[in-house]
Symmetry: C2
Subunit: 220 residues, 2 copies
DNA sequence: GAATTTATCAAACGTTTGATTAATAGGATC
DNA sequence: GATCCTATTAATCAAACGTTTGATAAATTC
């Protein structure tokens, strides 16, 4: 009965690392308990079972980052219609910054999300539907407001492409450094944000143009 | 001694599905054996242990797709320096087509690669180094040949961004369809290739321009 | 057609898994 | 200081895990 809050948090932290590194099936309650320095039964005491523990691991970070993104959208559209660059930075920065903040799970949570957002099993689908579809729909609508020539299908693709780029830089596997002989530093947050935003915006505009061209071809 | 070839292949197929859906730790030899309709011991007879089974699952597809990509590069540069669009299509098409070909693992292998290419554990790093770094280095060099203003760091980022987009569409989780109310069809191979190439090329050119601008700022 | 190799099987190995239990310690409340 | 709720512990459970075994059937070799 020493410190229930601290126990809860250190279990969540350890679980986050374990799920990220080993996957859901590979992570073990025993290993998590050892890593968190708590008795094994404490995990069931606080989180009932492995499934709910996993849910709370996701909840904690996804809730925070999506609140940030929603706030940024609110602020942006309060002053009229923003530029595409402003919009995409508002959407991608919170994700990338969390991936760079070790006090908030850092790249471990990022790898966890990347891995599950590209899976098709039921647990993954439920996670996407519950935690990421709402902000996705709002973002897609916002993109079309900023870039009206973007049709629905193109906007959905553009959003998913952009997110997949942001998640991959958030995951920070060290591969960029390896392939560039250390020239590429994936822990510089500002450079990563500006690079990711530049890449995404150019790509999105290309998809918008592609849609317009297809339309032209059809009417000719 | 009925059909060793068929047994091997059906084990590999079942393992591919299992690893993709459940992760390395979540997939079980027992489950794979059941799914492949072979005795559990056959898996150890053919593949020694779980680790080597995993390796061979990756080997089979990665070897095939990378051979295709290398061939495409050979052909492309035999006739001089190609356009960026030609280069990126040569690199991305084999990946995307494999993700759409159910007779070659389809989206299961894609999800497997996505998940492991964004992980940082030793198994994942070894997989990337062994199977994907060589073609990555060659591709990055080719990109810089096509677009000389792309510096090394930008080229590495551009390549990793493009690959992450291609992998995400290859994974086909059905999310695009869900978010677009069925408007977005992620199983149309040609549309996916052209969209992915268009997005990537525009993004890459933006990174090249960004590098030039930074250079301008420095000399001013 | 005997000897040898390859392929397959059912059963068991010891270990680890997620989960539960019964007992207990710590602080607060009365 | 007895009561009570919260927090924590060690011990235990059945099930599932990866792997090994010994036996056997089928094919190949000589």
């Amino acid at each position: 009965m020493r410190n229930p809050q601290k126990a809860r948090v250190s279990i969540l932290d350890a679980a986050e690392r374990a799920f990220a590194e080993l996957g859901y099936g590979g992570a073990s309650i025993r290993g998590i308990a050892r890593d968190a320095d708590v008795n094994q039964a404490m995990i069931h005491y606080y989180f009932q079972n492995k499934d709910q523990l996993f849910d709370e691991v996701i909840d904690r970070r996804a809730g925070a980052v999506n609140a940030q993104r929603n706030d940024a959208l609110d602020r942006l559209f309060a002053e009229g219609v923003p530029t595409l660059e402003e919009l995409m930075e508002a959407l991608l920065r919170p994700t990338i910054e969390m991936g760079h903040d070790e006090s908030r799970g850092g790249s471990a949570f990022a790898r966890l999300v990347v891995s599950f957002s590209n899976s098709a099993d039921e647990r993954s689908r439920n996670m996407a539907i519950e935690h990421y579809d709402p902000i996705a729909r709002r973002s897609i609508a916002a993109m079309r407001q900023v870039l009206p020539e973007l049709d629905m299908a193109a906007a959905v693709r553009a959003y998913l492409f952009s997110i997949s780029v942001a998640l991959s830089v958030m995951a920070r596997t060290g591969r960029a450094a390896r392939l560039s002989d250390g020239l590429c530093n994936d822990s510089d947050t500002e450079e990563t944000v500006s690079t990711t935003v530049a890449f995404s915006c150019a790509g999105i505009r290309a998809l918008a143009k592609q849609a317009v061209n297809q339309f032209d071809e059809n009417v000719e």
